[in-house]
Symmetry: C2
Subunit: 110 residues, 2 copies
């Protein structure tokens, strides 16, 4: 085992980041436009600190970036993480289609 430890923990973080509805919503919003952390915090029925933590999780997963502007912190969507997650699911799809193809072949031969 221990195939590619770095990549694996990276994927752990990515999918973990997606595994929360609030974080998915944040990703959607900051992809479309720009938000400050407190701008985001205003959208959800939870404390500022909670939202701040969610943003930190997304940042660690390379799904958003933060950029300081004065006393504010601008949160933006980051394509990098999204692409990586998508690529993995694409692989799985490909594996699935191969399998379905093999079964079709077997049925065709039988």
């Amino acid at each position: 085992m221990v195939v590619d430890q770095l990549r694996e923990t990276e994927l752990d973080r990515l999918f973990q980041a997606f595994a929360d509805a609030t974080r998915r919503d944040i990703v959607r919003r900051v992809t479309v436009g720009e938000y400050t952390v407190s701008g985001l915090a205003g959208l959800y029925a939870m404390s500022f600190a909670a939202v701040q933590k969610h943003v930190a999780v997304l940042e660690r997963a390379s799904l958003v970036t933060k950029e300081k502007r004065g006393r504010e912190q601008i949160v933006r969507g980051n394509h990098e993480g999204l692409q990586k997650a998508r690529r993995l699911l694409d692989e799985y799809e490909a594996i699935w289609r191969q399998r379905v193809g093999r079964i079709a072949d077997i049925l065709a031969e039988g």
Copy 2:
């Protein structure tokens, strides 16, 4: 808020299920071939019960199905869950491309 609670918890489970390297490996394997629960358990440096729990998590997320055959339980990949996760990431990709398109338009006009 509270957009579509059912779908949201479904997605929570899906991405949570993907957020573990062992579970991702199980999904890959059972998509290619068939495994019993103990067949899978033999592959990893952890107890049978631990692997059994991982399979249960994947089952709840609609990423695998189990079918009893004698005293064995056959685990197979389930396309349903995979498709749902993939569809969401596709949406996000689409949003991203729209945004990039808008920016390109603005630059073209400017």
